[in-house]
Amino acid sequence: MAGKTLYDKLWDSHLVKQRDDGSALLYIDRHLLHEVTSPQAFEGLRLAGREPWRIDANLATADHNVPTTINERAGGIAAISDNVARIQVQTLDDNCEAFGITEYKMNDAGQGIVHVIGPEQGATLPGMTVVCGDSHTATHGALGALAHGIGTSEVEHVLASQCLVAKKMKNMLVRVDGQLGLGVTAKDVVLAVIARLGTAGGTGYAIEFGGDVFRNMSMEGRMTVCNMAIEAGARVGMVGVDDITLDYVKGRKFAPKGELWERAVANWQTLHSDDNAVFDAVIEFRGEDIQPQVSWGTSPEMVLPVSGVVPDPEQMDDPVKREGTARALSYMGLQAGQALTDIKVDRVFIGSCTNSRIEDLRAAAEVAKGRKVAANVKQVLIVPGSQAVKAQAEAEQLDQIFIDAGMEWREPGCSMCLAMNADKLGAGEHCASTSNRNFEGRQGNGGRTHLVGPAMAAAAAVAGHFVDVRELMSNETA
């Protein structure tokens, strides 16, 4: 008999009931909430006179539209200048208070982007089912958890029943063997995967990332990779548990301790796909083939190695693709054949649930150290993913490196990833961004987003245009 994949194992262990119509009830261990997709769910509960099923399964934080300047943050909620944002943040506080849900409020020490604080606090653990009203919930799959994004009606459903109505997905293995070259990061790997799969290639699949490259990757890197599974269309991305996972989880605030830790570890060590597991689809890469990536278009699949040139729609046979490319080039203000390294950068954003962890900031700081932001770059925002990341970075004096380079050191939140607060692009501005979406208008009306990893973003900041970060690195060693 074929063995089980990690996804199969997690699905089976959480299956409450398989219904005749093909849907199933899946038990949810951890439910993360934030201010944007929860108010209507709480309202729905109230209207129906329902109570949350298990309060202690929920953890909330304010992240999406909290301001990131120290001045605006210092004044608390009352000082949030954007009316509607203030109401939303306040509503989350009120709802959590009314229902008794643990919340990291805007200025609490545990606050941060929901997908950064879950693993960091040990609130998301291996073997859990994790949901959140946010499509980047797959991030938590890096721990060997089954995590996916849900809509607001499902938020209400999980609050009320601790279950999700789900259908089993198909299994896909993305396998990257070999080794990554110097200066090639987790972000480059996942962008290369998306380039190959396309934004819909993973639709209907749970993706497991396997092979040497992921086995040797840090937890931060694995989170970056799983985070962007949704950009390949997959709701779920995951990596099997190994020693790197266990080392990461150990000692975290909500992680089990003592005898319970030992029992948990014994269980978690089974959380990987069996050797004889069968996947419905397998995609393979060699780590050596992956180069630092830069997206040029308005969809995450429109991405190329930094040495590439902007593609020519006239060369494309598929009419939908041709038109999509032409539209993207016109929106992005780019010419077919233009070298990616010729694209000038107006702003740089280093942050978001994809790349705002300590390792990301270290990588950016390494490039920024002793350099200055180029004259044509108007602003470089460094937004740590959580209060804990911020404190750690400050302890390592990374903040000083950024400030010395002419960059802005901000307070934790989603910030310019989705530009729901004041951090946004002006029309026509090009941004080197470590976030995950380059859709039209994502970072501000008319803004032009280029997705890159943190070191590549820092390199663009100091060069004033995209540049292969490896060139800066070899200068250093030369």
Partner: protein, 214 residues
């Protein structure tokens, strides 16, 4: 939830692939704590020439007349015809809320993003997947014929075209039932309250480290 049995309506096209949820409803409108009122900002950046913000009088804004929904011939449309990977991007349910609030009851596309597809059913909106070829032919037909209407029969899983022919479509049995009866999914799940409690009790015993930590 609103039920959906049969619907006849005018078809409006949105002729591009990968229409994402940021495009369907831009983020500045997500700050509302309500479920309704998103219709005037549906496709905001495509629909208006200026930049929209919440609580604004949208009737005074300059329209982009190249955008299909602004053309008189598509006024009152309730069936949206789209291309592949419609609704990709964020999980925001504001996207189906905005489509619904605008007056759409059906979205036809050659494929949908998972979360968006799911979210439609929770809001009485019917997403229909048809093959690329059929979608292509519908785009041509809509373009060629002003007032192009379809009749959608969910029970029969059938679409009646103006030329007298019909198409069939596939839909998951559970979702179909929910839509036909306008079922409250939470109520339905809570009918299994005892199974959930029993599962939870056992799970707590087997995996105590996952409980009582917060």
């Amino acid at each position: 939830m609103k039920s959906f049995k049969q619907h006849t309506g005018l078809v409006a096209p949105i002729d591009r692939a990968n229409v994402d949820t940021d495009m369907i409803i831009p983020k500045q409108f997500l700050k509302s704590i309500k479920r309704s009122g998103f219709g005037p900002n549906l496709f905001d950046e495509l629909r208006y020439l200026d930049e929209g913000f919440p609580d604004q009088d949208n009737s005074q804004r300059p329209l982009n007349m190249d955008f299909s929904l602004n053309q008189p011939r598509f006024k009152g449309a309730s069936i949206l015809l789209a291309r592949e990977n419609f609704g990709c991007g964020s999980s925001r349910e504001h996207a189906p809320w905005a489509l619904d609030d605008y007056g759409f009851r059906v979205v036809i596309a050659s494929s949908f993003a998972d979360i968006f597809y799911n979210n439609c059913f929770k809001n009485g909106l019917l997403p229909i997947v048809l093959s690329k070829d059929i979608v292509d032919s519908l785009f041509l037909a809509v373009d060629a014929n002003e007032g192009y209407e379809l009749l959608i029969d969910l029970e029969q899983q059938r679409i009646d075209l103006p030329d007298g022919t019909s198409l069939s479509f596939e839909i998951d049995a559970f979702y179909k039932q929910c839509l036909l009866e306008g079922l409250d999914e939470i109520g339905l799940t809570l009918q299994d309250k005892e199974s959930i409690s029993a599962f939870e009790q056992q799970w707590r015993k087997d995996s105590p480290w996952l409980f009582d930590v917060l």
